[in-house]
Every structure is written in structure tokens, then in C-alpha cells.
């Protein structure tokens, strides 16, 4: 039984990786067609969201733990590297890894605490954690400049440079997730998602693995935030708004939860669509929220699940 499950999961993961790489290959060629700086920027921000969505999906889709703090972790990552360079003149090349480590550590600490909780309690605690962090950042005006926003130095000259930097990071994260999910640890996570009690009864240390997944997911979000900070060169507490978390959740739910392709495809689809909708009158969040409800209610497998069934 277990062997069968393992083989099936691995074969599926491999076929998903192929499609995910195909999407990224298409993205890699996009600058040839899109010369416009504005749309290049849109695609770069989409990749920031794709990283956040992939991180949230590791937790929600593969481990079954619903955190409502992904945007907050992104915000902390952005501020970590931003504050290091603003106050201590730390170069970005050191600031970005430092931000990943800081957010990972915060995730590990918070994870140790919240991973003993289940379902609604987990969502409540992470929601309040995220809101506390946002309020602290926006009220600590002397240290973070609050709602005015913090200026962050850039790292590259051209937009195309940032574009390929983000793409390379996204590719690395996606490959890393693929390797993780087909490993023993990945199977533990999915076993926890499918039945926590059964997994524990088979000797999986559920609190340990859930905590590690939470910390890893936080670290990836922190990396996304830190890269975004150096691209946008201005960070503000708005990065941690609940509506940002809403956007990330809708990318994963619409794209397809618990798949490698879904969150990435969802991130590009949702963010690019949101740029169009913004231009025709700012209906983006209404449309996505409606889609989230409809997908969660009727098409749980998301667009990718529907597509896969259409292909098969």
C-alpha cells in the first residue's frame, strides 16, 4: 500500500515538474516579446507572488496547515534587508541571506508555538501575528519610518537583470520543493496533511515536521520579500496587509492547491489579470475573491486540476 502510494505520488510530481518548468521556460522567453518596462515590472512582481504562493502552498497544500501570515513574512523579509542596509549599511548581498535567516528563525520560533494548534486556532494565531507585525512596523516610526516607507538600495542596473534574477530564484525554489516533496520528509508532510492521527500512529513526528515546514515556508516568503525590496527600492507596511494574503491565497486556490504547477500558474494568471482589471476600474479583488469562493466550493482542484483532467 505504502509503496504503491509512494510510486504514484512520485510519478505525478515528476509530470507536474515538467509542466512547471514549461511555464518557467515560457516566462524566460517573455522579455523577447515584452520590451515594455511596465509589463516587465508586472512579471517581476508576479514572480514575487509566485514565490510567496509556492511557500504558502508547501504549508497549506502539502502539509494541510492554514497559515494566514504569508504576506507578513514577506514584509518582514523586505524590512529585514531594508533596515540592515538603512541603519547598518549592510550590502544587499549579505542583507538578503540575513533576511532569509531572520525570517526562517522567526518562522521556527512561531512554528514551535503554533504547530501544536489545529485548524481555526492556527489561522487565528497566524492572522494575529501578521497584524501585530504590521502594526509594529507601521508604528515604530523612528526605526522603520512607518507608513512613509523605507528606501532600499537597488542591486542591478536593468529591469531585465532583475527579471532573470527572480526567475532563477523561482526555478531554484521550485526544483528544491520538487526534491523535498519526493523525499522521505515530503512524504511525511503529505501523510500529516492526509491524516495527522494516522501519520502519528505510524511514527511520524508530526509537530517536528510541521514546524520545519512552517519555518521553511517562512524562509521562502522572507526571500521573496527581500528580493522584492531591492527591486522596488521602497518598502512599506502595506506589504503585510491582509488583502495581500488574500491575493496569495487566491493564487493558490485558483491555480490548484497541493500541486507544483498550480501556485506558479495561479500567481502569473492572477497578478497579470489584476493589472488588466486595475486598468478597467479596479475590480481585481472583487473578481478574485469571487473566484476563490467558487473554486473552494465547486472546483477544489483549481484550474490545474481541471486542466489535468481535460488532458487525461
Amino acid at each position: 500500500m505504502r509503496r504503491h502510494l509512494t510510486v504514484g505520488t512520485r510519478a505525478r510530481a515528476r509530470s507536474e515538474l515538467v509542466y512547471a518548468l514549461a511555464i518557467l521556460a515560457a516566462v524566460a522567453l517573455a522579455p523577447l516579446a515584452v520590451a515594455n518596462d511596465y509589463w516587465l515590472g508586472v512579471l517581476i512582481v508576479s514572480m514575487y507572488f509566485a514565490l510567496l504562493a509556492a511557500a504558502w502552498n508547501l504549508l497549506a497544500g502539502y502539509t494541510g496547515q492554514f497559515s494566514l501570515a504569508p504576506a507578513a513574512f514577506g514584509m518582514i523579509g523586505a524590512y529585514a534587508t531594508g533596515l540592515l542596509s538603512y541603519h547598518y549599511a549592510v550590502p544587499p548581498l549579505l542583507g538578503i541571506p540575513a533576511a532569509v535567516a531572520i525570517v526562517g528563525l522567526i518562522g521556527l520560533t512561531l512554528g514551535r508555538v503554533v504547530m501544536r494548534l489545529r485548524g481555526p486556532y492556527l489561522a487565528l494565531t497566524t492572522l494575529s501575528f501578521g497584524e501585530i507585525m504590521r502594526l509594529v512596523v507601521s508604528n515604530s516610526i523612528n526605526f522603520t519610518r512607518g507608513d512613509l516607507g523605507l528606501n532600499v538600495p537597488g542591486i542591478l542596473e536593468s529591469r531585465v537583470g532583475y527579471y532573470y534574477l527572480m526567475l532563477a530564484v523561482l526555478l531554484a525554489v521550485e526544483l528544491g520543493l520538487f526534491l523535498l516533496l519526493r523525499s522521505r520528509a515530503g512524504l511525511y508532510l503529505q501523510a500529516i496533511r492526509d491524516d495527522e492521527v494516522a501519520a502519528a500512529s505510524r511514527g511520524v513526528r508530526i509537530v517536528l515536521w510541521k514546524t520545519l515546514a512552517f519555518a521553511l515556508s517562512a524562509a521562502i516568503s522572507g526571500l521573496a520579500g527581500a528580493l522584492y525590496a531591492h527591486f522596488a527600492q521602497l518598502v512599506s507596511p502595506e506589504l503585510g496587509l491582509l488583502s495581500q494574503t488574500g491575493l496569495i491565497v487566491s493564487m493558490v486556490v485558483i491555480g490548484g492547491m497541493g500541486t507544483l504547477v498550480g501556485p506558479i500558474g495561479g500567481a502569473f494568471l492572477v497578478y497579470v489579470a489584476s493589472e488588466f482589471l486595475r486598468n478597467v476600474g479596479g475590480y481585481q479583488l472583487i473578481v478574485f475573491a469571487l473566484f476563490v469562493i467558487i473554486f473552494a466550493r465547486f472546483f477544489r482542484e483549481g484550474l490545474w486540476g481541471l486542466l489535468r483532467r481535460a488532458i487525461a
Binding site: A123, T125, L135, L285, A296
Partner: protein, 300 residues
């Protein structure tokens, strides 16, 4: 230095705010009791009430006393529709879902919150309106302390409604049925109770109560599309503090949070007043997740 009249003033104002929190928290607690989910769109019920009260009064020039029940009705209608359209799958079939109950509820109510906030933002606009006061008396002296007339009357209304709801849940026919479903859904349905109807009543009641809180507070906190976010977070804190599903616990915890915030804003930090409750929430979840009055759940 704690001066007596200042502390008395802070205590009374804290208790008054606590009453409004209780209107929100009771509904949230009832929903948790009957469906074992947290409604992440609870703040938007509040927002619907605040807008219904303010806009109806402004558009038709009705007396605020007439629009108050209308706001309650608007919230109740939203709550009822939400239950019918989105909450049914939680208990009617769908057991083969891969997506577990908690996760479905979090996603759907979170999505609903996002939808309602942005819908109102588009339709009504992002700017706040000031809700009409219930009475035109600006200040009432209550012994050594002064309270705004609206605040005092609104608190009295809130208190009356809370007592009425507590009596309804405790003694009425439907109240008993709701409590039975909260204790054991299967057992209640075997005893002939219409559990779907009980859930619908709970959602309508919870929506109405949150909307009433929004309406009563609209002259103090002008309705904006995201006006419900903080009251909702406060009520999450309260239901954890008071024990999920416990109504006396929710009421007591609401009053405690109101008083704590009122003193904390003066003696600790005004800027961080909204973070006290959140910090308490995390502490409670860590050390006493069953709350003050809740029962520890065990899995068999």
C-alpha cells in the same frame, strides 16, 4: 499617577466598549459552537450593519431608531444567505472531500471577507460617512464622569440586546435546539431537531448582532469598507479568551478586553493599543487554548 476619577472614567468607557465587543463575540461564539468553524467574515457583517444604518438614515431621513432594526435585518439577511450558499457543505454530505472542513471554512470565509470589503469599496466608495447619533445630547454627567449621550444610549441598547439574546439561547424553544446541536449534531438530529434550520438561525442571529454593533458604533467609528477588520480581530481574541462556544465566557471576556484596552491606551501606549488584545490572544493560545471557560476537547 492613578487619579480616581480618571480610573473611573476609563473603567466605564472600557465597559461600554466591551458591550459592543460582546455583540460581535456572541455571534462568533455561537457559530463556532454549532459548526466548529471560525467565521473570518464576521467583521464584514459589522460593516454591512454600519453602512445599512448610516446610508438608510441619510438617504430617507428616517429616525435612527427606525433604521437600527433595519441594520439588524440587513446583517441577518447576509448571515442567512451566507449560511445557505456556503456553509451547507460543512455538514450536508461532501464527506468525501479531500479538503478538510476547517480549511474549507477558512478559505471560504476569508474569501467572503475580501469580496464584501472590495464590493462595498467599489459600490459605495472608500470614504467614511458619519452615522447619525441616537440622541442629540452631547454630554451626560454620570456622577464624576462625563459620557457622550450617544455612547450611553447605545451601550444601553447593546446591554438590552445581549440580555435578550442570552435569554433566547437559554430558555426559548429554538435556543434549546441550538444548544442541543452545538453539543452533538448527530444526536440532535436523531432527536428530531432540524439541524440545518438551527445553523441558519445561528448565522442570521450572528449576522444581525454584528450588524447592530456596526450600526451602534457608526457615529463613533465612521463606516469605511474595512471598518470591520479590527472589531473582528477583537472578537477572535475574545472568543479564545472566553472559551470558544461559551456565551457567558464571551461576554465576560469582552468586558475584560474593553477595560484592558481602555487602561492600556492611557498607561501603556496609545499607538499600540490595538496590539494588546492580539498579544493576549497568542499568550492564551499557548498556555490555555480552551480559554477561561471552554472545555478542553479530546479526540477519541
Amino acid at each position: 499617577m492613578l487619579s480616581l476619577s480618571l480610573s473611573l472614567d476609563l473603567l466605564v468607557n472600557g465597559l461600554i466598549i466591551g458591550l459592543f465587543y460582546a455583540l460581535m463575540a456572541i455571534g462568533l461564539s455561537l457559530i463556532f459552537g454549532i459548526l466548529r468553524i471560525v467565521n473570518f467574515a464576521h467583521g464584514e457583517f459589522y460593516m454591512v450593519g454600519a453602512y445599512a444604518y448610516t446610508l438608510i438614515a441619510l438617504a430617507f431621513g428616517l429616525s435612527p431608531w427606525l433604521t437600527l432594526p433595519l441594520a439588524f435585518a440587513a446583517g441577518a439577511a447576509v448571515g442567512f444567505v451566507v449560511e445557505r450558499l456556503l456553509m451547507r457543505p460543512l455538514y450536508a454530505g461532501y464527506t468525501s472531500w479531500g479538503l478538510m472542513k476547517d480549511e474549507y471554512a477558512v478559505i471560504v470565509t476569508f474569501g467572503l471577507s475580501l469580496l464584501l470589503i472590495n464590493l462595498v469599496d467599489k459600490v459605495v466608495g472608500p470614504y467614511g460617512y458619519r452615522g447619525p447619533s441616537l440622541v442629540q445630547v452631547s454630554r451626560i454627567a454620570l456622577g464624576p464622569i462625563m459620557i457622550s449621550g450617544h455612547r450611553l444610549i447605545a451601550a444601553a441598547v447593546a446591554l438590552l440586546v445581549i440580555v435578550a439574546v442570552a435569554l433566547f439561547i437559554r430558555y426559548s424553544f429554538w435556543g434549546r435546539q441550538i444548544r442541543a446541536v452545538a453539543q452533538n449534531r448527530l444526536g440532535a438530529s436523531l432527536a428530531g431537531i432540524d439541524t440545518a434550520k438551527a445553523s441558519a438561525i445561528v448565522f442570521a442571529l450572528a449576522g444581525g448582532l454584528a450588524a447592530l454593533a456596526g450600526a451602534l458604533l457608526s457615529p463613533i467609528f465612521n463606516p469605511t469598507p474595512d471598518v470591520g477588520v479590527f472589531p473582528a480581530i477583537k472578537s477572535y481574541v475574545i472568543v479564545v479568551l472566553g472559551g470558544m462556544g461559551s456565551i457567558p465566557g464571551s461576554i465576560l471576556a469582552s468586558l475584560m478586553l474593553g477595560v484592558l484596552e481602555s487602561f492600556g491606551a492611557v498607561y501603556i501606549s496609545y499607538d499600540y493599543r490595538d496590539t494588546f488584545g492580539l498579544a493576549i490572544l497568542i499568550l492564551f493560545l499557548l498556555f490555555r487554548p480552551q480559554g477561561l471557560f471552554g472545555e478542553r476537547e479530546r479526540e477519541v
